[in-house]
């Protein structure tokens, strides 16, 4: 029997994991990645990866990990997948350990664990403060091994353009474009797995890499895939402010003892410790980000009147800092010129992670048959707020599930990828040619890069930590205006070789769709839950809103469906508090 063919789009942690699993299950695998896979955004994850290994004598357990994740997500996550995720965690850590990931060790030679936000047990395995990079490299190496064995083929510097659907709406592959030669081609497949990451860059300045535009997710959404929970965008409380990028300072800094404060009446005021005595500086990210927002924006107590607070490590042991947090100290020092061992760091919250994303079932199948999604681009596991160090875990775990399930699905197909009518690919390639032609001929008065800056400003000001319906509505109108002005913009580069501006135009157009999804979803949800906080409806409303926001593309505005209730098993919703023990 002919081998199944799987196309994986995206070469980050989730993409490479699904590729390895699919190849291991006997399929031929093509990986399409817009950057060399080793440079994927997964390298930016710093603090660690969670697994209830319980090696610290603290009585940690997988059940506690499950509870913390669901409670931390403000009860919006389906419970079956969260349980599966947490149960898989120790095995995932052991796999990485065998692959040679340089996890920090205890004196006894065991994997060391550190504390992270929203939990009481040390549960986070780490490799200095560059854990994502280290996990990413280990999979990059394994993929290279599979390439050498001809089990996987990589297409790096290839840009995903679209999915190819047959007349029954079943996904039969993708179209993609070589970022150097600009050649368009089809990649036929039995199943496609999207592992294209979050959409943080729709906000412009954020902690994400420049290519985290959400283009692929927006594209499949426009082709009919359901999008879920777009309003849930995580702001990381501690990033170094910068106009090109908000550079992340890991939650591990607080897990290792770092303290947040601002000067008040001439003395340090440790407001997180005062407001949340039970968790102190390691409250979850939404809680910490809101507290910082309140202190800076409402109480006007930012350091020197600026939009920053102190993150203080100066009291910690220098040797321990070097072994456990070196990566972030280096970043801070290189980009600000100040030594965080000697002076407190200045930080502010920044857009960091998309809890929402492409809707998937528990098998990571999207609403389009034959199309799977895994990693940050899907919406599963994290509910309304993700706990720190759960993302490297969910990226790996979901990649494993998607890789296996995609092959199982492929094996059940009646028509193999080699026997699909070639006309569907030709039609799609023509469509993409037309899109390129349209962009390359744009000759209006607007500069698309400046439009992108405007989008950044509007989203960052309004679809943010504190949200007001009126501002969101105005932002929605602004997005319409920007979209319309985009149609009157000009491309400067008309070259047929390595034309980066063409790719910029293609992704920017899609970002307007994501922006609209975030804003409309936020307007619709009339409650406050996790990262989504509206002072007009400040309480969580389980009666009405314990449901998934499912959105479908429509030319004017997304269509919403709230019929999918959150799956509640044995963990019943209770008020979520971090000022007292739970």
């Amino acid at each position: 029997m002919a081998k199944s063919k799987i196309v994986v789009v995206g070469g980050g942690l989730s993409g490479l994991m699904s590729a390895l699993k699919a190849a291991e299950a006997g399929a031929l695998v093509d990986i399409i990645s817009s950057v060399p896979v080793r440079r994927s955004h997964s390298v930016c994850a710093q603090g660690g990866i969670n697994a209830a290994l319980n090696t610290k004598g603290e009585g940690d357990s997988i059940d506690t990990h499950i509870y913390d994740t669901i409670y931390g997500g403000d009860f919006l996550a389906h419970q079956t997948p969260v349980k599966r995720l947490c149960h898989s965690a120790p095995g995932i850590i052991y796999m990485f350990d065998r692959m040679g990931v340089t996890f920090n060790r205890t004196k006894e030679g065991l994997l060391d664990l550190r504390l992270f936000g929203g939990v009481k047990k040390r549960r986070t395995c780490f490799s200095g403060a560059t854990t994502g990079q280290q996990l990413m490299y280990s999979l990059d190496e394994q993929i290279r091994r599979y390439e050498a064995l001809n089990l996987v083929k990589k297409y790096e510097n290839w840009e995903f353009c679209s999915v190819v659907l047959d007349s029954n709406g079943i996904c039969r592959g993708v179209s993609a474009m070589d970022r150097f030669s600009m050649q368009l081609r089809a990649f036929p497949a039995d199943a496609v797995i999207l592992c294209t990451g979050g959409f943080g860059h729709v906000y412009g300045t954020c902690t994400n890499s420049t290519h985290c535009t959400g283009y692929a997710a927006a594209e499949v959404y426009r082709r009919g895939a359901c999008f879920a929970n777009a309003e849930f965008v995580q702001f990381h409380p501690t990033a170094i402010p910068g106009s090109d990028k908000m550079r992340l300072i890991s939650e591990a800094a607080r897990g290792e003892g770092g303290r947040i404060w601002v000067p008040r009446d001439g003395k340090p005021w440790y407001f997180l410790e005062e407001w949340y005595p039970a968790y102190g500086n390691t409250v979850p990210r939404d809680v910490a980000a809101r507290a910082i927002w309140k202190v800076v924006k409402e109480m006007k107590l930012g350091v020197n009147g600026e939009d920053v607070v102190y993150l203080d490590l100066t009291h910690l042991d220098h040797e321990a800092l070097a072994e456990r947090l070196e990566g972030i100290l280096e970043i801070y020092e290189k980009f600000t010129g100040e030594d965080p061992r000697k002076v407190p760091m200045k930080v502010f919250p920044a857009v960091h992670y998309s809890m929402g994303g492409i809707w998937v079932d528990y098998e990571h199948h999207t609403s389009i048959k034959g199309l799977f999604a895994a990693g940050e681009c899907d919406y599963q596991y994290h509910g309304a707020n993700r706990l720190g160090a759960n993302s490297l875990l969910s990226a790996t775990h979901s990649g494993m599930i998607a890789g296996e399930r995609a092959v199982a699905y492929a094996k059940g197909l009646k028509t193999n990828w080699e026997n699909v009518q070639s006309s569907i690919y030709d039609t799609e390639l023509e469509r993409q040619e037309d899109i390129n032609k349209h962009f390359i001929l744009m000759d209006g008065p607007e500069n698309p890069h400046i439009l992108k800056d405007e989008l950044t400003k509007w989203l960052t000001d309004n679809a943010t930590i504190v949200r007001y319906n009126k501002n969101l509505e105005e932002t929605d109108n602004k997005i319409s205006e920007l979209k319309e002005r985009f149609m009157r913009s000009r491309i400067h580069d008309r070259s047929g070789w390595a034309n980066e501006e063409l790719f910029f135009m293609r992704t920017l157009e899609a970002q307007f769709e994501i922006a609209r999804l975030i804003v409309r979803s936020a307007i619709q949800r009339e409650e406050s839950r996790g990262s989504h906080y509206k002072p007009e409806t400040p309480k969580r409303d389980d009666e009405k809103w314990l449901c998934v926001t499912k959105a479908y593309y429509d030319l004017e505005s997304p269509r919403f469906d709230y019929s999918e209730k959150v799956e509640i098993l044995d963990i019943k919703p209770v008020p979520r508090r971090y000022d007292i023990e739970h």
């Binding site: 994991m17 390895l20 699993k21 291991e24 950057v35 060399p36 080793r38 440079r39 994927s40 955004h41 390298v43 930016c44 898989s88 120790p90 095995g91 052991y94 796999m95 350990d97 065998r98 692959m99 040679g100 990931v101 340089t102 996890f103 920090n104 060790r105 004196k107 030679g109 490799s127 200095g128 560059t130 990079q133 280290q134 280990s138 190496e141 290279r144 091994r145 390439e147 050498a148 150097f180 890499s209 420049t210 290519h211 910068g242 106009s243 090109d244 990028k245 550079r247 072994e323 990566g327 290189k334 980009f335 600000t336 500069n447 890069h449 400067h492 070789w497 390595a498 980066e500 501006e501």
Partner: protein, 246 residues
């Protein structure tokens, strides 16, 4: 308004001749070279007022963990994201790395570095990607040692600075020796130690290193590459003797 001057070496494609263009962009606080290039995108006009096209370069993480934006800045190879304008003499001169084929402008093709990793078998061969229990124990000292090498971004700085590394030489580069060392000291990785040493004793291997030691001084992550070269050099000698007596 305060401005920043840039002089950029441009090249339209791999087979075109390079040319220079100068730009002046508005200064902002804590500006880095990436921000200067982004400012050109917003107003692609040279200092003489001639409209041109935005500069092509590669960037991704903007915090010096991905290695993408490596280029030559005022004569020194480094990442553009961590090159702060305040610490650079103007005009800031930007050139693509010279040891790799230019794709366009400041963007180069470093895929031969990844090919070298394939040749030396820079990975731990595992039985599968399923749960078969914990890996080997390791001391904190061993972990710290390995971590120095495992932070290599494959950015190419060591290759650019190396007098032995160029398009006419098969030398794989110092990073490849660093990665060999990393996998050869791993408790499971060392099972295939000799395979990697064989690869490093072949064409483009360790014998091509001229011991100029430039690699270590330009490495943005301070990876002790010369130490790896010395240790792997010793290992290859022993390996040769062993093979002789086999």
């Amino acid at each position: 308004m305060e401005t920043v001057r840039l002089k950029i070496k441009r090249q339209d494609g791999p087979n075109d001749l390079p040319y220079w263009e100068e730009f002046e962009v508005p200064y902002v606080q804590r500006m880095n070279v990436v921000m200067a290039l982004q400012a050109i995108e917003k107003k692609p006009v040279t200092i003489e007022g001639i409209p041109t096209v935005p500069v092509v370069w590669e960037c991704s993480c903007l915090e010096e963990v991905c290695g993408s934006c490596t280029m030559i800045i005022n004569g020194k190879v480094r990442q553009a994201c961590s090159a702060l304008v305040d610490s650079l003499e103007q005009p800031i001169v930007l050139e693509p790395m010279s040891k790799f084929p230019v794709v366009r402008d400041l963007r180069v093709d470093r895929s031969k570095m990844f090919e070298a990793l394939k040749r030396i078998g820079a990975w731990v061969t595992v039985d599968g990607y399923h749960d078969i229990g914990p890996g080997p124990r390791m001391s904190p000292a061993q972990q710290q040692k390995a971590y120095h090498f495992s932070r290599c971004m494959i950015c190419g700085c060591c290759c650019e600075a190396c007098p032995q590394y160029n398009s006419r030489s098969p030398f794989m580069g110092a990073f490849a020796i660093g990665q060999t060392y990393l996998f050869n000291i791993h408790p499971i990785g060392k099972i295939e130690k000799e395979k990697r040493l064989d690869a490093l004793m072949g064409e483009g291997g360790i014998a091509d290193c001229g011991n100029a030691q430039n690699c270590e001084s330009v490495c943005p992550k301070n990876i002790p590459l010369t130490e790896a070269i010395a240790l792997i050099g010793w290992d290859t000698t022993i390996h040769t003797i062993k093979k002789f007596f086999r």
